[in-house]
């Protein structure tokens, strides 16, 4: 997967309003991309619920979190609404997995690896992490470690 020190690749992810989130949106602030395998799957549910609970602390660190999956925006929005979380969701639906591939986190099974990428205001990757297995849920502490290390 993409590692610290690499420039973030060019990419385009779908936002719920139909617009695109691209490399240009990374500039000027710290971004955390939370790649997760599937909307509505049990581990992804726990993961977003947990991160939502400490969202204000991510904001205090100056970081904005986004969930990224290959689900369509409609599915991501339904997932977000069902959980009652506010973390914005970005869709890598079509061309499927293109952004995941660009970040080196596309699983051969057709979904994102469970991975975390912290990108600085200069659009350079500061920290990245991929779980040993898609079923492993990285604790929020790992993201705070990553934010504090950069």
């Amino acid at each position: 997967m993409i590692t610290a020190g690499s420039a973030a690749p060019e990419f385009a992810l779908g936002r719920a309003d139909g617009s695109k989130f691209t490399n240009a949106d990374l500039k000027g602030r710290t971004t955390v991309l939370v790649f997760y395998p599937f909307a509505f799957s049990p581990v992804c549910t726990d993961q977003l619920n947990l991160y939502e609970e400490v969202l204000s602390e991510f904001e205090a660190e100056g970081a904005t979190l986004y969930g990224v999956s290959c689900d369509a925006s409609w599915s991501q929005t339904a997932f977000k609404d069902k959980l009652g979380v506010s973390i914005e969701q970005l869709s890598d639906f079509e061309p499927k997995g293109e952004t995941c591939r660009a970040f080196g986190v596309y699983h051969p099974g057709g979904f994102p690896q469970r991975a975390l990428v912290i990108i600085g205001p200069d659009a350079v990757v500061k920290w990245s992490y991929v779980a040993d297995s898609p079923g492993d849920l990285p604790g929020a502490n790992l993201i705070f470690d990553g934010l504090q290390s950069v």
Partner: protein
């Protein structure tokens, strides 16, 4: 000033913790949430074994909207010496966690209701629950229930054999 949520070992049990069970029994530290059905089942299973148990709060609002008020209610009961009584009451009946239900529980336990209601909304109680939660986040807790026992972290419902292992046989 933001909270430090970077990685740290699970804090050892202190006199700030809610602890019950024989002092010489194996220690388990449980991170739980009163609206979590798995926590209720695990709590019942733990109660059947000879263990020294410490309970810490790990409420997650988006999955369990009444988890925070329930945790604060348990702390407010604790201020009147009835933490475990409220803990058991909440886990015994998770379908009734709204405010009138919490008042009814406090009344049943013989608590001073006015003090209970002031305490459960107090900054000190909120800080206490958040302190437990933060210690769990720092120790890598991601969901409930999570147990720390014998230097290991165990997540989810664990079967009888594994629980017997924690209890030392």
């Amino acid at each position: 000033m933001s909270r430090d949520l970077g990685s740290a070992p699970v804090p050892p049990v202190s006199d700030q913790d809610h602890v019950r069970g024989p002092a010489d029994a194996a220690l388990v530290i449980e991170y739980g949430d009163f609206e979590c059905p798995y926590c209720a089942v695990l709590s019942a299973r733990l109660a059947e074994r000879r263990l020294r148990r410490a309970f810490r709060h790990f409420p997650v609002r988006s999955s369990h909207p009444r988890a925070w008020p329930a945790a604060c209610a348990a702390e407010a009961a604790g201020a009147q010496g009835a933490f475990w009584e409220m803990h058991d009451s909440l886990f015994a009946d998770q379908g009734r966690l709204e405010d009138p239900h919490l008042w009814e529980r406090a009344r049943t336990l013989g608590l001073d209701l006015e003090r209970f209601d002031d305490d459960r909304r107090s900054e000190a109680v909120v800080a206490r629950v958040r302190g437990d939660f933060d210690s769990g986040v720092r120790a890598g807790v991601v969901t409930t229930p999570t147990l720390f026992a014998g230097g290991r972290r165990v997540t989810g419902l664990i079967d009888a054999a594994a629980l017997d292992g924690l209890a030392g046989g």
